[in-house]
């Protein structure tokens, strides 16, 4: 096991540094939480404002008259980048649907890809509609950063598991990006839009993580709706939601897919 190579002095130093980091982090968090609590008292109670805001953003009239004045350039860029991510997702799923091992493979996987494609299409349309109503241009191109990633991965995609792996990456990027944008955009109507799409992308990812685990564990037959819950491996119950809080560390910057 090579236990003779342990440098206990270095280990002690690193442990001390780790403790310092933890102490600093805890102190910062505690101070922030105290400060957070001290600045609470909004003009009106949230549920009283709710009907007004929700009324303004409801249904297809997500962004109504005067919305352009409320949106900022950051808002428009965020919407365009979001649309670019959706465009790429639609493209990837459409391509995947045509692959022989998907088309002639597991029917539930094929159905999931078809349904997910329509959902991403709807998201892209919503983002572009909001961008144009905010005075910007619609984004019809795919996200350039992840297009390059997809192009690099495409030659190595030869199985359903490969497709699922790529899709998980795209869904996670989308969910993280929109979760991040909720805090970046200035217009509450856009916060609602991003916050209503991020959980859907997270659900796509969750489903794909479960499918990935079943494929890897020889449980492809259980990828069905309805499935045989009694036969699902224990891990299938938790693999679909690995974190307590959705990360935003991989979120795309708002400029990434903005129209130039």
């Amino acid at each position: 096991m090579g236990e003779e190579h342990l440098d206990t002095r270095l280990l002690a130093e690193l442990t001390e540094q780790s403790q310092d980091l933890n102490s600093d982090a805890l102190r910062i968090t505690r101070e922030s939480l105290v400060e957070y609590g001290q600045q609470q008292e909004p003009v009106r109670r949230w549920w009283q404002r709710g009907s007004v805001l929700a009324g303004a953003v409801g249904g297809a009239a997500l962004l109504g008259v005067g919305r352009a004045a409320a949106a900022s350039s950051v808002d428009v860029q965020a919407l365009q980048t979001a649309a670019s991510i959706e465009n790429l997702a639609v493209s990837v799923y459409t391509t995947a649907a045509g692959l022989s091992f998907i088309k002639d493979g597991n029917k539930t996987v094929a159905a999931f890809i078809a349904k997910t494609t329509t959902q991403h299409t709807a998201h892209g349309q919503a983002f572009n509609a909001a961008a144009t109503q905010a005075g910007g241009k619609a984004q019809t191109a795919p996200d350039p950063k992840y297009l390059a990633v997809v192009k690099k991965m495409l030659p190595s995609i030869t199985t359903p598991a490969d497709v699922v792996k790529l899709a998980i990456t795209l869904e996670d990027v989308a969910a993280q990006t929109y979760t991040s944008y909720v805090s970046k955009v200035s217009d509450p109507a856009l916060r609602k839009l991003f916050a209503s799409v991020a959980p859907v992308e997270a659900q796509h990812r969750s489903t794909l993580l479960a499918v990935q685990a079943l494929l890897a564990g020889g449980g492809a037959a259980l990828i069905a709706i309805p499935t045989d819950a009694a036969k699902l491996p224990a891990a299938a119950g938790s693999v679909g939601f690995p974190d307590s809080f959705y990360s935003t560390s991989m979120a795309s910057p708002v400029t990434e897919g903005a129209v130039q």
């Binding site: 236990e3 922030s32 600045q39 997910t116 969750s206 489903t207 939601f241």
Partner: protein, 274 residues
């Protein structure tokens, strides 16, 4: 396997230590940046708030900012006095009237009322999963698939994390933490939970709680004023939605039923009994 060097003996192997160190590093990589970013956001928010307050009467820019805030407040007041409402716009259980709101002497007001609601919902979920696991252990639910047991255990743990996060905000604000379930729908929830006799029933009830939580957080993202509150709600909503996706799958239903998460099942602060 141990190693002696210097003045102390390492009680674990190097391999085990490497593995644990790796896990610790991953945890740091995952959580510290997020925590630092959240702290930075909160600090910026407070600095911005303070800057506006200080400069409001001292400069033209400050005056304009102040005027904008007043105008926004007046607009909100005018709009909220309107009788016009939109279907699905308000959270379930909302009376949308003063009489329907929690006690005027409530400890939790403004955004903190949303935080209190979130904490209570998380505690409700933790309690429901705990009761379900106990019922399963006692054999009251029949045969429990391993995946369902794992789901309940993991989801309960994550809801506990969410409740801790929200309670930290409450106590940080000098308010009492909420350890129970001060919600008017809790008796009905307990009754429903006590009536189920199989895993499917529990999963269906859990699905309702998860959908309610996810949609409440969605509603909160565009109705709270604190940037920290918005970011936290935004980071939890997808997780509750993921719980719902797996529950749908287990129940034999399509895991992603909506193109956009709705708010028709969102909980209202009027559910709070404190």
């Amino acid at each position: 396997m141990s190693s002696a060097k210097g003045s102390w003996e390492l009680p674990i192997s190097e391999g085990e230590l490497s593995r644990l160190t790796g896990e610790l590093d991953e945890a740091h990589q995952e959580y510290l940046p997020r925590m630092q970013a959240a702290a930075a956001d909160l600090g910026q928010e407070l600095r911005d708030t303070g800057a506006v307050r200080e400069s409001r009467f001292a400069s033209r820019r400050g005056f304009l900012l102040g005027a904008g805030g007043v105008a926004a407040a007046l607009t909100l007041a005018a709009c909220s006095s309107s009788t016009k409402t939109t279907a699905g716009a308000s959270p379930s259980g909302s009376a949308m009237s003063p009489s329907g709101s929690p006690s005027a002497s409530s400890l939790y007001t403004g955004d903190l009322q949303v935080v209190a609601l979130a904490t209570a919902l998380e505690n409700q979920a933790v309690g429901a999963y705990g009761a379900a696991l106990a019922a399963a252990k006692a054999g009251k639910l029949g045969s429990v698939p391993p995946a369902v047991a794992t789901f309940a255990t993991t989801a309960m743990s994550q809801h506990t994390d969410h409740a801790k996060a929200w309670n930290a905000v409450l106590t940080g604000a000098g308010k009492p933490a909420i350890t129970g379930v001060p919600l008017s729908n809790q008796p009905a929830t307990l009754k429903a939970l006590g009536a189920v006799t199989n895993v499917g029933g529990v999963a269906q009830l859990a699905l309702e709680l998860e959908n309610q939580a996810a949609q409440t957080y969605l509603f909160a993202t565009y109705n709270v004023t604190s940037a920290g509150g918005i970011a936290t709600a935004a980071s939890i909503a997808p997780v509750e939605a993921m719980h719902a996706a797996i529950l749908n799958f287990v129940l034999g239903q399509y895991p992603v039923p909506d193109d956009f998460l709705p708010v028709d099942k969102a909980a209202s602060p009027t559910l709070l009994t404190i």
